[in-house]
């Protein structure tokens, strides 16, 4: 009969209408939350903006300013400045740790790559501000949150992290008070800030590859890149410069190399500038005797320190 489809439609809407009043589990039907009064329970894994974890007092923050998260962050919205004590010796802690929450896309990659479990994802999303630029940059004090808070919002994950972490690290040598937060004006010139925001800072990682000129006519179907890579050996071959390879394999790769290469192989290959140089620079400094302190490779921790000590002893540097 002509109207059947139309009538069925009416029956469905009627059922929904009546159901919304008398249905047993009304929550089932009316799926809208009355926001300010009635809040949606957030699951544990949910992530909004990152925050820095500290054990006990804000000074014992886990972050060692190794800048791994700054390099890995896709939209490059993290800016870290290493803390230096009076005579310029780098302390393993940040003075400035800014996250531009207007740029951060809450992807959680900084949490994954952080070797120290220092940065975790928060759950609170009510962070609207009035000013457009300055207020949206969250500075170090606001980022720091206690481990208890972390346990409170993500208990399962927090306990898992605590289990894997080594005993609590003793606070850095002389706990200098956290410097006053630099206002954004002295931060950088506008153009530098834009450059930083667009990630044009110095490229880290892939070395410069030199291609020989290739005649266009007779070519194999392989992409010009493949062909060039396999043929031209790179000048300063550092096959071990890859944080994924274990320490023993790296040392074995650099066995018959000079001391500087062996020292570099011992580093954590993270180029994190915790020691004040990148891996290559720190190795050269140790080899040339410029500095004696072999314990500054933060990500390397114990194994790197012992290996550096053994190499330095063998070479008679200490």
């Amino acid at each position: 009969m002509i109207g059947k489809g139309l009538m069925d439609g009416l029956v469905v809407t009627a059922k929904n209408f009546v159901g919304s009043y008398f249905d047993g589990n009304r929550k089932e039907r009316l799926f809208t939350y009355q926001y300010p009064e009635e809040r949606m329970p957030l699951p544990e894994n949910s992530r909004t903006f990152p925050f820095l974890v500290y054990d006990g007092t804000p000074d014992q923050m886990r972050c060692t300013a190794c800048k791994v998260c700054e390099t890995e962050c896709p939209p490059q919205c993290i800016c870290i400045v290493m803390d230096r004590d009076a005579n310029g010796k780098p302390l393993r802690r940040p003075t400035v740790f800014d996250i531009d929450t207007s740029v951060c896309m809450q992807c959680g990659i900084c949490v994954e790559v952080c070797p120290f479990n220092a940065i975790k994802m928060d759950c609170d999303f009510e962070r609207s501000q009035y000013a457009r630029f300055d207020d949206l940059i969250t500075h170090l004090p606001t980022l720091l949150k206690s481990n208890e808070y972390y346990h409170q919002i993500k208990s399962a994950e927090a306990t898992r992290v605590d289990a894997t972490r080594k005993p609590a690290k003793k606070p850095a040598a002389a706990p200098t008070p956290v410097k006053p937060v630099p206002t954004s004006t002295d931060m950088r010139t506008e153009d530098e800030r834009q450059a930083w925001q667009r990630g044009y800072q110095g490229e880290v990682g892939a070395g410069e590859i030199v291609w020989p000129p290739v005649v266009l006519k007779k070519q194999s179907a392989r992409t010009p890149l493949e062909q060039s890579v396999s043929s031209a050996p790179a000048a300063n071959d550092v096959p071990w410069h890859d944080s994924g390879i274990e320490l023993e394999k790296r040392m074995e790769m650099a066995k018959e190399r000079p001391l500087a290469d062996k020292l570099m192989a011992a580093m954590a290959q993270v180029d994190c500038q915790a020691c004040g140089y990148d891996c290559r620079g720190y190795a050269n400094a140790l080899a040339s005797g410029e500095s004696k302190d072999y314990s500054r490779c933060a990500p390397g921790e114990e194994p790197t320190k012992n290996m550096l000590e053994k190499l330095m002893k063998e070479a008679g540097k200490i």
């Binding site: 044009y200 070519q219 194999s220 179907a221 392989r222 010009p224």
Partner: protein, 143 residues
């Protein structure tokens, strides 16, 4: 020149000269054993060092359900010589993707029914995806 076929990790790619591209394409489409009637993806790649822009066509066969073959053709990077015969007459699906390649890379497709910019606004002068493209904001900073 006979197109060289190279089995590179399970994707056969076919480098063809610009002059023979149309003939090869028609052959691939009409040959009973091949019947590549589905042109899935058309891209341009800018090899700055080798001074060439390569246009890649990925072809599939819906009739015989066999896998991709990449039809590649190269053209010099200079804007005026960067011309490649368009395959829209053979596969209608290339129309928008070739316009995008023109818009972002500056590769002119001869024989394309309606070659205009598709993503950028019409008054835009440069081709943004080229490796040597400098975005305007940086330019203003320089001036």
């Amino acid at each position: 020149m006979i197109p060289t076929v190279e089995q590179v990790r399970a994707m056969t790619s076919l480098l063809v000269e610009r002059e023979e591209l149309l003939a090869v394409a028609k052959f691939l489409k009409t040959d009973p054993q091949l019947q590549f009637d589905f042109c899935s993806c058309v891209t341009a790649v800018d090899y700055l060092k080798q001074d060439c822009i390569e246009v890649v066509y990925h072809l599939y066969s819906v009739a015989l359900k066999h896998g991709p073959i990449a039809l590649k053709v190269r053209a010099p990077r200079a804007l005026d010589q960067c011309r490649v015969p368009s395959l829209t007459p053979v596969w209608r699906g290339c129309e928008f993707q070739e316009r995008e390649a023109f818009d972002l890379y500056g590769v002119k497709f001869d024989g394309h029914p309606d070659l205009r910019r598709i993503l950028m606004w019409d008054e835009f002068v440069d081709h943004p995806m080229r490796k040597d493209y400098v975005p305007p904001s940086a330019m203003e900073a320089k001036k």
